[in-house]
Amino acid sequence: MAKITFNIGGVHPDDSKIAKDRPIEVLPLPQTVWVSMAQHLGAPAKPVVAVGDKVLAGQVIAEPGGFISAFVHSPVSGTVKSIAPRKDLAGNNMTHIEIAVEGDEWVEGVDLSDTLVTAIPEDRQAILDKIKACGVVGLGGATFPTHVKLNPAPGSVAECLIINGAECEPFLTSDYRIMLEKTKEIIVGAAIMQKVLGGCRCVIAIEDNKPEAISAMRKALGELGYSNMEVLPLMKKYPQGGEKQLIDAVMHRQVGSGALPISVGAVVQNMATALAVYEAVQKNKPLVTNTLTVTGDCLPVEKQHNYLFRIGMPLSYIAEYAGGVPGDAAKIVSGGPMMGKAIANLDACTVKGSSSLLYLSEAMTKRGEQSACIRCGKCAQACPMGLEPFLLYRLYKAGNTDELEKNAVHDCIECGCCLYSCPANIPLLDYIRQAKGQVLGIIRARAAAAKAAAEAAKTNEKK
């Protein structure tokens, strides 16, 4: 098999896809759901329902709070009990809409059947409007509103749409399962996005540790007969699913520092996003469900599951349904073991981008004792963005933001390869993330100042 992958850095953690043969099960509804207003990147949504309102599943309960924001829909039918702050995954307060579940009625027009609809609407704007109205966001992790990404700035041309099926994070299998179970739906979803982008090439990129998914996709593609679309197997390497890494692997083009993928003619969308787009456009179904993996190294295979969940379900409810938290779990992580976040509060609720409930043992998560940097350069070798983490760490400690900026700390994608590869157990990423925040703040402040100065100059000219 061709060894196609990205060029710089990367690491090879064991892929541990233990839950890959567990088919997707539908989770029963809990008695109450809490829907967070921060389901996406950008401004939190604004609630448009009041306490006591009756809502149906799929009904809009919150509208976008800014340009980069998204609609939020009710995942269940029932009564709004409260709109109040509740603690999220990280234990910070966020406005949640509490809905007491009564039955399971959906708003009119939503097609809940399994029949495949292949006729794609003609009007590009109508498709975009539908994607926006259904609150679709990128489900690969960043939850960036999809309608914004699919509508690149005038003047930029999309040459290639990449459907991201790398699923390079160990343990996670939700994308793999939908690739097997919703193959054709994903392909139609990809075709819809292809149409919105003006009929560019489409590449479905899948890592070669998922041969079943590759063959299923190829077979379905042949049956559906789309000609401008291909399946591309990639060599397994973390972080292949990173946007810039995937573009490098598929198109052999490098996205510049601070630039968007569209600058090299690429648009990357996740597998689950393609499915959500299909459901939104063809079935009128808003994004209120997604697939999540319950897995981990301290869970026997028979207790691992792939679930179709609704947003707003408490994680503790899912954990309980799946058989409880295993006793030897030292950490529960939401997301993959590399980039996921440890959960500080199991009562937090699922959001659109939830992808896993990962139980990791102490052996897996315990950080070794930190020792001095021996300048071995492993972190620089592992960094997929070509940065020098050991240097960035030292610069952060010295508070040298000018040098940090020169060394492109803001290009860090926070993949964790540096921390993973460091033999001295230095928490490199912890500090670099801080440095990145600082430098991004400085860059933004500078841009804002330049803008203000330009505007001031303009008004002066007018005078």
């Binding site: 990280a90 234990g91 910070n92 307060n93 976040k341 801080q434």
Partner: protein, 312 residues
């Protein structure tokens, strides 16, 4: 041989003389006029270069002070009134005396009061920890305990108490430069007046959660019940966002709020004796009874007046 040495000396000396003349002319041509008072002011400054005044070091402060029309906006918290008097004498300004200040840590979430709910094993930095999540206790507002404030202090005035896991301020060393308050990502450190004879009262909590939630996370949390605000006769206590705040400018140190606080969130510093809660509570009750009586009497007094009005 000897002529080589002589020539060398002559050339070097001539070159030196020429360069000296050039340097002299350049220095004269491009001389920067500088107010000599800047140097004088800098000399009396403490020289800590801590930035507590808001300027980048003592020199920058001296420059700003000399340029400014008065000293209202320039104050060196480290040197305090003593240094400012000297600065004022040099510049011929008047100085507004400021009460001496010190940092207070507004969190009492010790290990006993605020049980840990999870284990944090990331980088030992409050800033890093705060960026990741709400912290290893149920309270998302309180002290994270990694000691960023301790690292920020150049005066050794703040140290971690290993028993409580909270930072402790040594007021005798604290210069109120505010470096710790800036370093704290949770904003729990406040620069407050030291108070008369070092006595002061403050609310040692910044938890904005509602009462039951706050109480569940920490036994010593301010639950926003407002009892202190109701009791205070000086209007010094306000409750905003479920957390009380004592205005040091209005506080008369009567300690009534401290006595009535159900969770012990109000702390007193520098008083000779611990507060006698029962005595203070009795005093409040007596005052209330008297007030009620007075109100009754006033009502009784007001009625005849009303009647007269009616008659009139």
């Amino acid at each position: 041989m000897s002529s080589t040495i002589i020539w060398t000396i002559v050339i070097i000396a001539g070159l030196g003389l020429l360069l000296a003349v050039i340097l002299f002319l350049v220095a004269r041509q491009f001389r920067v006029e500088e107010d000599p008072r800047i140097d004088e002011v800098e000399k009396v400054m403490p020289g800590a270069n801590c930035g507590g005044c808001g300027f980048a070091g003592c020199r920058a402060f001296a420059e700003a002070a000399v340029k400014a029309p008065n000293l209202d906006n320039n104050y060196c918290p480290v040197g305090g009134n003593e240094v400012m008097q000297k600065v004022a004498a040099i510049l011929g300004y008047e100085v507004k005396e400021k009460a001496p200040q010190a940092a207070v840590v507004r969190c009492n979430g010790s290990c006993a009061n605020r049980p840990k709910t999870n284990v944090y094993d990331g980088a030992a930095s409050c800033r890093v920890k705060a960026a990741l999540y709400s912290g290893d206790t149920g309270c998302p507002f309180g002290c994270l305990g990694c000691g960023d404030c301790v690292n920020a202090c150049q005066f050794g005035a703040i140290v971690m108490n290993p028993e409580t896991g909270l930072p402790v301020v040594d007021e005798s060393k604290c210069t109120a430069c505010g470096a710790c308050a800036k370093a704290c990502p949770k904003g729990i450190i406040e620069i407050r007046p030291k108070g008369p004879r070092g006595m002061k009262l403050y609310v040692s909590c910044v938890n904005r959660d509602k009462g039951p939630v706050a109480k569940k996370a920490c036994a010593a949390a301010c639950i926003g019940c407002g009892l202190c605000a109701k009791t205070c006769t000086h209007g010094a206590v306000t409750v905003i966002d479920n957390v009380a705040y004592i205005d040091p400018a209005k506080c008369k140190l009567c300690r009534e709020c401290e006595a009535v606080c159900p969770t012990g969130a109000i702390h007193s510093v520098g008083f000779p004796k611990p507060v006698d809660k029962e005595a203070v509570k009795k005093r409040i009750a007596d005052r209330k009874a008297k007030a009620a009586e007075a109100a009754k009497a006033a009502e009784a007094a007001a009625q005849p007046v009303k009647k007269e009005e009616n008659n009139g």
